[in-house]
Symmetry: D2
Subunit: 317 residues, 4 copies
């Protein structure tokens, strides 16, 4: 049994962590920190937790814990690390992008770095699109087959966080689709870094067209590139690569985003058209794309079974 | 051809007015006033109007017009009327609730007050829920048959305006339903006033449970009360009451909200269960519930055909 | 560890049962019966289960089990019971409405009948609307305070089952609302029976306006009736009634349907307006309204902890 | 004033045609043919037309008309043409894909073939994705700049027609995204043909990843390819190409699908990233992608103003 603290527990990723940790058999939540909700029961903000937890938000942080989750906005984590002297006895999982490109932290994608994660003290949890895309491309990079790749993908609105904005206003977003950050999405940096880790001479573009979807949870990404492998061989390569990884699966039939919503899974599906290999990839952006993967990393860091607390009931509909 | 000015033209009801007026054969939009968007083309805010109009927002208001639409927030209209001396040559249609209970303005529900509207100089345009509910109940009140009535209804998110809020955040509202202002909705005042206009001794409650729906446009209201009429007689009474009214129809088959979306229609459907008469009523909250009815009132005030500029293509899906 | 069989495992309630049972620590799924999907892995139909189970659908039913779930369409359960001689060693939970009004089966609402359920051999699992409504009214009936009650409520599309129909066609249902079975919903029978069990002289109508919502999961019901209790007393009565029931909670703040989606909870919220007591009630129609409640009943019938396998992560968004 | 008949008037494109034609000042609908709805008022099927038209469906087809619209399923139009001897006095607009690749019919994309359309007697109306994609690429082809192009795009559910299916079941499609017909979408044929008409030596792939969106109306397509033009030049080229075309516009700001919903417009937006030119394109699949474009073609074929009857109020939300 370990003790964990959450900084930024009133946001979306903090809330998902709470939902996972209050039923995790090896974790006790020591504190749920929030500046804006001090003193209120967590179920005042995360109303779905009514009856599940009597924890309240606090503005007090202490280090009499084994693990600290940082769930603040991007930029705030590096601030926090500057202002706080976290003792060596406390491991840290940061869900922001602040340390993903840094050497200070282990990049927490288990399908890439499981052994390093097991020994990590400071871990940078991957971005949501970055997770879906890397899981679509890792087996290619691992086999040195990566070439210029073309990507499109859609994300749910929870990726944009809890603060209301024009692009998350229901009246605008409902039944709507739009593209954003075309070719410039910030997750391409960490994606490129991971791919080069496996295929160091990879220097081609990762062309990515991201769309805002009118749903709350989930990411659907499609990638394609030229590849000599026949389809059967590609499928075989992918299945082998993910054989030991309990959350990433190759589907023989077409996939959709709802089949992974409210799970920590990534499901892939491959097609071959002419010389193009097409890889579809779906995850829940808040779970495998954020808090679920953080718990998976926690399990690895503390020697728990990798799936502990993550056998989640899919919502399916 | 009349000249019209719109104050508050950057909001939802202002935008709907612009969409209607730029194709209205008898109206020229003299100015589209907005404090926040001064100088910008209206299609920067109402992006669907790209190619339809080269009008820009202005912060200048003048009274060299025939008609002024007030599309500001509730409270701002009475402010405006205090601060501005609108000459008698300018007619006014106010879309806020500020003057709906006042004797200064004619209450602009054509199915109730058409003759007064024709002669109005200052008109208070009804609220959206108020419109749907009154159209469901007017024939009962007209015949002195109104009794204690039970109402439930759902509204689209555009009823809550353009300012983002917790209850219009996509991540919260999508696939969600909630009740609000139960028994205390502000539209019950104007509803009660209208019903008493037809049935002065009516002193029973209008019990109303409003729900926030996860759609953008439309209102569905169901009302029921004890009523001696057999179903056929009730239908006959309703059809007769609305015979001369070109936007309100009684459907012989079950109705749904999308059949009136993007139209100025109200469609009613009646059922009888035991001694209860049930009346369903659907409108588009931004059209018959706001800007469409404002144009209908404008047509009446200026002697244009009542449907002029309002033969809209339904979106249907 | 018990062995359970599911008849009709390819439908919605069968799928939800599979999602719950494959992670339940005291249950082994002995067979998943389906006529239409014989031989296919269950994850071909319930694609979210890829990686979670290697079970396949079978058309073979056997009684070397401890528990049989009947998840077929309404009418098919009574057919099944006529055609099959289920041995006394096998307990039965029927999710159809076939036996809810019958004396052959115990009516499986734990908040009403927990003791009888513990000893049941044949159990009729309640309907979804019936569950939400009864949980809203039971404390009134228990205290003999039930009077004529007015109800409105919305249900998600999964309530209509897996067979496509006009009213579940996406192009029609998306962004739409409609009423159906007004005052005639079939769940009013079982609701009335339960209420009379607690308040035998109750003979007033349960007036219910059900709406089809444009979401997949969840039910929101609002009930109101005259009640002398001040609000605080009513809240106290409700909290006491549900004190020992681990899934039903009274919220002090306004509720919405997504706070219970993908959980087995019912959350209630009370208001008082004039002499009317208003009770809002939310459940997930497939869980507390169907398969989750079935597992809760199973837990009671076999002496497992009532919440075993039902500490579900809410989807929340 | 011309007389028009519609074969297949009970489907989605037939319904949209009726919605447009009943308010078109130069058209009288002579008959609305449907095998399944004979004798019923059209507002029994297209319920939004209640109060707008007293027309009923008929199974009788006659040629005492000026124009015949074929709105049947794919394959049925060529059947119809074989079985019926349509006199030369009757012009034909076919909305199916049966004649789009044929030399018998003029391909009805006004931005490509306006002059031929004006003289057409038999016209093949383009597909919805084909329209959005061609309008994104025509200026490149016109200037001989087309190269291998990468496309992704989402379509609303109405593209799949009125017949219920697994992929249009609300419980599945709501909040879901999936890819289909990747690299094999049937609209690529007509798209390639049009592009080669302008740039005959074009022999590169049109790589297209289509997604099913969880909305009912609209198409959003993004295309990119290498292009030497700086952004400003590209924008200039596009604006010039569409200068004389009243429905296709280049937006200087980012676009979204709802800004064209319920209009006959196509709106484009260009970006440049490295050597890639990116073109976004949005249309309403049922209007500019089907029935709206059919009316536009009708206007051209009969010498009416191109926009007549197509100044539609956008739904915007």
């Amino acid at each position: 049994m370990i003790r964990a603290g959450i900084v930024g527990a009133a946001g979306y990723t903090g809330g998902e962590l709470l939902r996972l940790l209050i039923h995790h058999p090896e974790v006790e939540v020591s504190f749920a920190h929030s500046r804006s909700q001090v003193g209120l029961p967590i179920h005042n903000v995360h109303t779905d937790l009514l009856g599940d937890s009597e924890l309240s938000f606090t503005d007090q942080i202490h280090f009499d814990i084994d693990l600290l989750f940082l769930c603040m906005g991007h930029g705030a984590s590096s601030e926090f690390m500057k202002e706080n002297q976290v003792p060596d006895t406390v491991k840290i999982i940061d869900l922001s992008h602040d340390f993903r490109m840094s050497n200070e932290a282990v990049y927490g994608l288990p399908e890439l770095n499981r052994d390093e994660i097991k020994n990590a003290r400071f871990l940078a949890n991957p971005g949501c699109f970055a997770t879906a895309i890397q899981l679509a491309l890792l087996p290619l990079a691992y086999n040195g087959m990566l070439r210029e790749v073309h990507l499109s993908g859609m994300t749910g609105s929870t990726g944009a966080g809890v603060q209301p904005s024009a692009s998350t206003h229901f009246s605008w977003r409902d039944s709507n689709v739009s593209a954003y950050k075309v070719f410039t999405h910030q997750h391409m940096d960490e994606t490129g870094k991971s791919l080069q880790q496996l295929q160091p001479w990879f220097d081609k573009p990762i062309n990515f067209v991201p769309y805002r979807g009118n749903f709350t949870r989930g990411i659907f990404v499609t990638a394609y590139q030229h590849c000599e492998w026949p389809l059967e061989e590609a499928i075989q390569v992918y299945k082998e690569y993910y054989e030991d990884h309990p959350f990433t699966w190759v589907s023989d039939v077409a996939i959709d985003v709802k089949q992974v919503v409210n799970t920590n899974k990534c499901v892939l599906h491959l097609e071959k058209h002419g010389s193009y290999l097409v890889i579809h990839s779906v995850i829940d952006n808040l779970l495998k794309g954020a808090s679920g993967q953080a718990v998976q990393n926690m399990n690895l860091m503390f020697g728990f079974p990798e799936k502990l607390g993550l056998n989640l009931k899919p919502s399916a509909f």
